[in-house]
């Protein structure tokens, strides 16, 4: 695993974020940061606010307090579609592919932007079709006909169409067969090599520790601990403290 990069320039900074679903207070002041090109894991038990943190960054959950910076600029309260255009891609836990759209059409939702030349479009499509040959084979089939693992690949491929600087990846391996899990693992490495930062929410602790540079631990809507991934292993007491049952 590549060495930790503690001094990389910050890309996304989350400062003291508070968020609510209706009246229930979910995030109680989350602070974290992801550097340019850095892979950061976000661990914690179910319901501690990991997914909500991702949703707050992409603007799908309104925040009451605190702020989000992207490349040094405050983006709190910016509409989701604008955040997507400036380089924040989101791959939700339930994948949310457009089931009735074909695979190519799913990809086009992120590709049909202003300022993408025809050659660049082809290049981006070719690239994901090389990474995900199964998507290329079925490019004219509706997304809803894909298996769970293939849908996950499509969701990641679709996010790549935005040429993002960071991908917020919510439980990408949930419910997948081991073979698919290792594919997702490889994709994370590919994205990292391309210089894309990743904020990874996962239940799979070994995978997270292996793929990430740093990890944050959340509990009760707050970040409680923060560590360099390579200094932890699955038997570390910290893992037990925040993830043990």
């Amino acid at each position: 695993m590549s060495p930790p990069e503690p001094f990389v320039e910050p890309l996304v900074e989350v400062e003291n974020l508070h968020a609510y679903y209706g009246k229930s207070h979910i995030l109680h002041g989350v602070s974290l940061s992801v550097g340019k090109g850095e892979v950061v894991g976000l661990l914690g038990r179910n319901g501690v606010g990991k997914s909500t943190t991702l949703k707050s960054i992409i603007g799908l959950v309104a925040t009451r307090q605190g702020r989000v910076l992207f490349g040094g600029r405050v983006v709190t309260g910016m509409p989701t579609h604008k955040l997507a255009r400036i380089g924040i891609a989101y791959v939700p836990e339930d994948r949310r592919i457009f089931r009735l759209l074909t695979i190519t059409e799913n990809l086009r939702t992120g590709l049909d932007r202003n300022g993408v030349s025809e050659s660049r479009r082809r290049q981006l499509l070719d690239r994901v079709y090389t990474y995900f040959p199964v998507l290329a084979e079925r490019r004219n089939q509706p997304g809803g006909t894909l298996s769970g693992g293939e849908q996950q690949m499509l969701a990641i491929a679709r996010a790549m169409m935005l040429e993002p600087k960071i991908i917020l990846l919510d439980e990408p391996t949930e419910g997948l067969m081991p073979r698919m899990v290792s594919q997702i693992r490889q994709i994370i490495d590919v994205l990292h090599r391309d210089g894309v930062a990743i904020l990874l929410v996962e239940q799979n602790v070994p995978l997270t520790l292996e793929a990430s540079h740093r990890v944050y631990f959340m509990e009760k809507g707050e970040v409680r601990h923060h560590a360099v991934a390579s200094e932890l292993d699955v038997n570390n007491p910290v893992i037990h403290q925040f993830l043990g049952v």
Partner: protein, 290 residues
């Protein structure tokens, strides 16, 4: 009892012609419902306004095609403005608020038309006046032209949805507006555009229908009522279902009016509506999901 085959043939043609106009009205309505979750009570008034603009443009320029295009564009722009001013601020509120808002727009537009144009019905001259013989009837070619034009508009729109960049945006937004946002699609503007397209389609049908009956301020009412039935029977928000339902219901009404008076034939639509709601509330023409 002998079966009146000649009447059935004539009524089939009539049913298809009315069905195609109805399909044009209803596809805008179902589109707006499917994407904005708004039941547009002002749809009939957009239809009526389109017909009036058609009357005015036809009177000044003498060109029917220009009247059709101008009415479509003007009402589409008006629809965009209405959506931005009245519906966009209501996003996320109780659906009842949008019903009240569109109902309010409907009343304003209807009374504006009454005030502006008066209670006397206007007439749109048929752009083609030829007839052909259908059994013992002189059947106007114009009616055939309406059916073809409506089909062409719906077909063009379908192609746009299927292949156009913005068509893909619209379909993605229909399926999952949150994910569409996350893919960088400006959903609020997709909503505005869809409302504008629906309004434009209503206006086009108003102009096409104009020559068949008079144009007056209340002409939208009967159409919007029937279009609502079609939208429910076809499956709320389902474009293909609405088109099928529009033709189905118009044919049924046309056949029924062989035996009963046309005003009683309307009952058939309501019977179909009630049966649909009882036995297949998701719509008659919705494909069963796998």
């Amino acid at each position: 009892m002998t079966i009146p085959w000649d009447l059935i043939a004539i009524q089939t043609v009539n049913g298809i012609v009315t069905g195609m106009i109805l399909a044009l009205v209803a596809s805008g309505l179902t589109l707006i419902f499917g994407i904005l979750d708004v039941v547009n009570f002002a749809h009939g008034e957009l239809f009526m306004l389109g017909a009036y603009i058609g009357v005015l443009v036809l009177a000044t320029t003498g060109s029917f095609s220009l009247a059709l295009v101008a009415a479509t564009i003007i009402v589409a722009l008006l629809g965009a403005a209405l959506q931005i001013v009245t519906l966009r601020p209501l996003v996320g509120r109780d659906p009842l608020t949008t019903i009240l808002a569109t109902f309010g727009i409907s009343l304003v537009l209807q009374n504006y038309a009454l005030w502006q144009f008066g209670p006397v019905a206007r007439k749109i001259q048929e752009p083609i006046t030829g007839h052909f013989t259908l059994f013992y009837l002189d059947y106007p070619w114009y009616r055939v032209m309406i059916a073809l034009l409506s089909a062409a508009i719906i077909g063009g729109f379908w192609l746009f949805l299927k292949y156009g960049k913005y068509g893909i945006w619209i379909r993605a937004t229909t399926q999952d507006r949150v994910m569409a946002e996350a893919m960088g699609i400006p959903v609020p503007w997709v909503h505005t555009a869809v409302f504008a397209i629906g309004a434009g389609m209503a206006a086009a049908s108003g102009v096409l229908f104009g020559p068949l009956a008079g144009v007056d301020h209340a002409m939208g009412l009967a159409w919007v009522l029937k279009a609502f039935i079609v939208v429910v029977v076809g499956g709320m928000g389902n474009l293909g279902g609405s088109i099928a339902a529009a033709i189905f219901i118009s044919l049924l009404e046309a056949y029924a009016s062989i035996w009963v008076s046309p005003s009683q034939a309307v009952i058939v639509s309501f019977v179909v509506l009630i049966l649909t709601l009882l036995f297949r509330p998701t719509g008659l023409f919705v494909p069963i999901s796998k």
